[in-house]
Symmetry: C2
DNA sequence: TGTACATCAGTGAACGCGCGTTCACTGATGTAC
DNA sequence: TGTACATCAGTGAACGCGCGTTCACTGATGTAC
C-alpha cells in the first residue's frame, strides 16, 4: 500500500486505512482473531461506525486484507532471516528459518491465528493470498534443496513430483526460490517442515504446552534436526 | 452419563440432555465449532429457547460438556484400535494408532475443532478435561516404550524427565499406561507423536491441503515411520 | 487573489437481526396418604 | 382406588446487548476559472 504518494486526499485515505487496520489488529490481539467488530474499531478511532465504510466495503473486505497482510509479514520475517546469513551451512539455516517463523508467530499471535488457525468460513482465500502464502515457505526451498529425500519418503516424494508435473504454478514457485535444487526433493522437504512447524507453533500459540515440562524451542530444534538428519543436510 | 437408570423423570432428563447435545453437535458440524446457538438448538428440538436452561446452566456449560465428551470419544477411538491388536509389533501399532486418531478426526471434524483447534476464550479447561486428554495419548505410551530416545533428543528428554520428577500426576499417568516402559522415553516419544499428528491432522481438517498433490495418509505414514526409525521401534 | 463549484469524509438515525439470559406462569406428570 | 399435593418441564414475554449495513445529510477540503 503506497503511503506517502498521491494527492493529499489520497495520502489521508491511506493513512486512515492503515489506522483502521492497526486498531482492528490491536482489537484482535486482545480478543483473539474473530473478535473483530467494525463498530468497536470505529469507536477506538473516535469515529462513528458507518465511517469505516468509506474505507472498506465490508467487514469481510477488511478481514481479507488483514489476512493478506499477515502472510506478507510472515513471509517477510522468514525472508529477513534467510537474507541475514545467506552463506551458512544448510543445516544451520534450517534451524534459523524455523525459529524465525516461530518468533514471528509468538510476537504476533493474532496474525498467526488469522492465517493458520482461524476457521475462516466467510473469508475465502483469493488467489493473491495463496500467492503470498508461497512466500512463507519459499526461503526453506533452497535450503532443503541441499539434501535428499530418504527411502521411507519415496511414496510421498512421488506424489509431490506428480503435483509439480501437473501444476506449472507450483513448478515455477519452486524454481524461483531454488533454481539449482531438485524440485521434488526441496518440495517434499518443505512439506514436512511446514507440517512439523505448524504442529509445534500452533500448539504453543494456543497455550496447549502450558504446564508441560518442555521448552517449545527445544522441541522445534529436535524436529528440525530430525529433518536435517533424514535429508542428510550438510552441516558445513 | 447414565442413560436408562433412575426414575422415569431422571431418565427423561438424561435423554433430553443427550438430544440437546446431539443437536448442538449437528449444528457445529455444519457451521463449524463456535457456531453454537442455544436458540437455534432449541428450535431444532421444537422447543423455546429458555427450555434449554432446565438442562444446562448456560451456553458455556454446554460447551464445556461437549469438549469433555469430545476428549472421551477421541480417547475411545484410539483405545479401541489399541485393544484391537494388542500383540502386534510396536512399529505397526504406532502407525495404526496414529491413523485411528486421524480417522476419528476426519469423521468428526467438529469435535476435533472443539478440542484441538478452537480458540476457546471462555471455555476454560477444568481439571477433569485435562484428565480426559491424557486418555488420547495414553495408548501411545506403551508402544513408544519399546523404543529409545535418540541423541539429538537428549535435551528434550531431560526436560521431560524433569517434568515427570516434579509432577506426580504425570508420573502416574505414564506408569498407568506403560508400567514396564522407561517413562522419559515413552513420554518424549508421545510428545513428538502428538505434535506431528496434530500438525498433519489440523491442517487436513482445516482444508489447507486442498489442491496439494499429496495424500495426508502418506504424509502421516512418513512422519510416524520417521519416529519409529529415530526411536528404533521393533518391527517384529 | 477571489469566487463558484465539486468532491468526499464523517454524522446520526434507522433497519432488522440474533444472541444469552431472567422471570413469573401454566399445566402435565409423578407421589403420598 | 381415589384424592390432595408437590415437582418440574416448558412457555411467552421481556431485557439489554451489539452486530453489519443503508441512507440522506452537512460541512469541510480541494479545484478550476
Amino acid at each position: 500500500m503506497p503511503v506517502g504518494n498521491g494527492t493529499p486526499r489520497q495520502r489521508y485515505r491511506d493513512q486512515v486505512r492503515a489506522e483502521i487496520k492497526e486498531a482492528a489488529l490491536a482489537q484482535m490481539y486482545i480478543g483473539g482473531a474473530g473478535a473483530l467488530s467494525l463498530n468497536a474499531v470505529a469507536k477506538e478511532l473516535g469515529v462513528t461506525g458507518p465511517a469505516i465504510y468509506k474505507y472498506f466495503r465490508s467487514r469481510d473486505d477488511l478481514l481479507t486484507e488483514l489476512v493478506f497482510d499477515s502472510y506478507g509479514e510472515a513471509a517477510a520475517a522468514v525472508r529477513a532471516e534467510a537474507e541475514r546469513t545467506p552463506h551458512r551451512p544448510p543445516r544451520e539455516r534450517l534451524h534459523a528459518l524455523a525459529e524465525a517463523y516461530r518468533q514471528w508467530a509468538i510476537a504476533a499471535p493474532h496474525l498467526f491465528q488469522l492465517l493458520a488457525i482461524m476457521p475462516s468460513p466467510t473469508v475465502d482465500s483469493p488467489p493473491e493470498t495463496i500467492e503470498r502464502a508461497k512466500g512463507v515457505l519459499g526461503p526453506f526451498l533452497p535450503v532443503l534443496g541441499h539434501g535428499r529425500t530418504w527411502p521411507a519418503a519415496a511414496e510421498l516424494r512421488e506424489q509431490v513430483q506428480g503435483w509439480i508435473d501437473r501444476r506449472d504454478a507450483v513448478a515455477d514457485w519452486v524454481r524461483t526460490y531454488a533454481p539449482e535444487a531438485d524440485s521434488a526433493t526441496a518440495l517434499t522437504g518443505a512439506l514436512i517442515v511446514w507440517v512439523r512447524l505448524h504442529g509445534i507453533v500452533s500448539l504453543e500459540i494456543q497455550g496447549k504446552f502450558t504446564g508441560m515440562g518442555h521448552q517449545p524451542a527445544t522441541l522445534l530444534t529436535v524436529e528440525m534436526e530430525s529433518i536435517a538428519d533424514s535429508m542428510a543436510l550438510p552441516a558445513t
